[in-house]
């Protein structure tokens, strides 16, 4: 059966943009990290040292936040396509949002507890 899912207006363009901006941030970070793996010997000291400076902590946090917001838009699109009962779909949306918020707090804790 084909039914329209009622949803709020005006969120489409914003999310389209969020998905692309977060993708570009993640792509830049991926290139940077690949450069690190290709040029530095991978040891505990070099790995931990990577996250010492504030700019790199912030870049890493920006990457992880981009992952989380990108995951939200992606998972929401998947649920809108495949999960049609409204109650289940909304429950899944809430579960994903809460999980991602917890991950975001966790990410801050991980990065800022590097000695």
């Amino acid at each position: 059966m084909v039914k329209r899912i009622v949803s709020g207006a005006h969120y489409g363009l914003k999310d389209w943009l969020i998905q692309r901006v977060s993708a570009v941030v993640m792509a830049l970070y991926t290139v940077f990290l690949t450069g690190f793996f290709l040029t530095q010997p991978l040891t505990f000291a070099s790995w931990q040292g990577l996250f010492h400076s504030l700019p790199l902590r912030l870049f890493s946090l920006l990457f992880l936040f981009s992952v989380f917001i990108h995951a939200w838009v992606g998972m929401r699109d998947i649920f809108m396509d495949y999960v049609h009962p409204t109650v289940i779909r909304l429950a899944l949306h809430v579960a994903v949002i809460l999980a991602l918020l917890a991950y975001a707090a966790w990410a801050v804790q991980i990065l800022w507890s590097v000695q």
Partner: protein
């Protein structure tokens, strides 16, 4: 007009064209990466917390099954990454015509698989 139409969806009979195949793989890899987030964050935390934690994460990935799993995750990430670049190009009207779209779909598959093999060899 009837309010609801019947839809014929036999997944075994649907033959997706290549751009459709890489597209559904983009979706599947994205969902997989989402589900693995807690595990990846935990590995990051452990590896950064202490010398012992770092050694523990290293020890996980010395096991062949864990290595295969990691290579699978890397393939998922690289496929999603390459498809993302393809979509960004499409946004700029690059490669929209069918022959180019088919070629870029092939390119995404080839590049992400080749890079995965290279990283896999390096890891093993």
């Amino acid at each position: 007009m009837p309010r609801s139409r019947p839809v014929y969806l036999n997944l075994l009979k649907i033959r997706l064209p290549l751009p459709g195949v890489v597209s559904i793989m983009h979706r599947a890899s994205g969902a997989l990466l989402f589900l693995l987030l807690p595990l990846l964050l935990y590995a990051l935390q452990l590896s950064l917390a202490s010398e012992q934690g770092y050694a523990e994460v290293q020890a996980w990935f010395r096991q062949p099954l864990a290595k295969l799993f990691l290579i699978g995750v890397i393939w998922g990430y690289l496929h999603h990454f390459c498809m993302g670049l393809r979509y960004l190009a499409l946004d700029f009207d690059i490669g929209v015509d069918l022959p180019q779209a088919r070629f870029s779909a092939r390119l995404v598959l080839a590049v992400s698989m080749a890079a995965t093999v290279l990283i896999g060899v390096w890891l093993w």
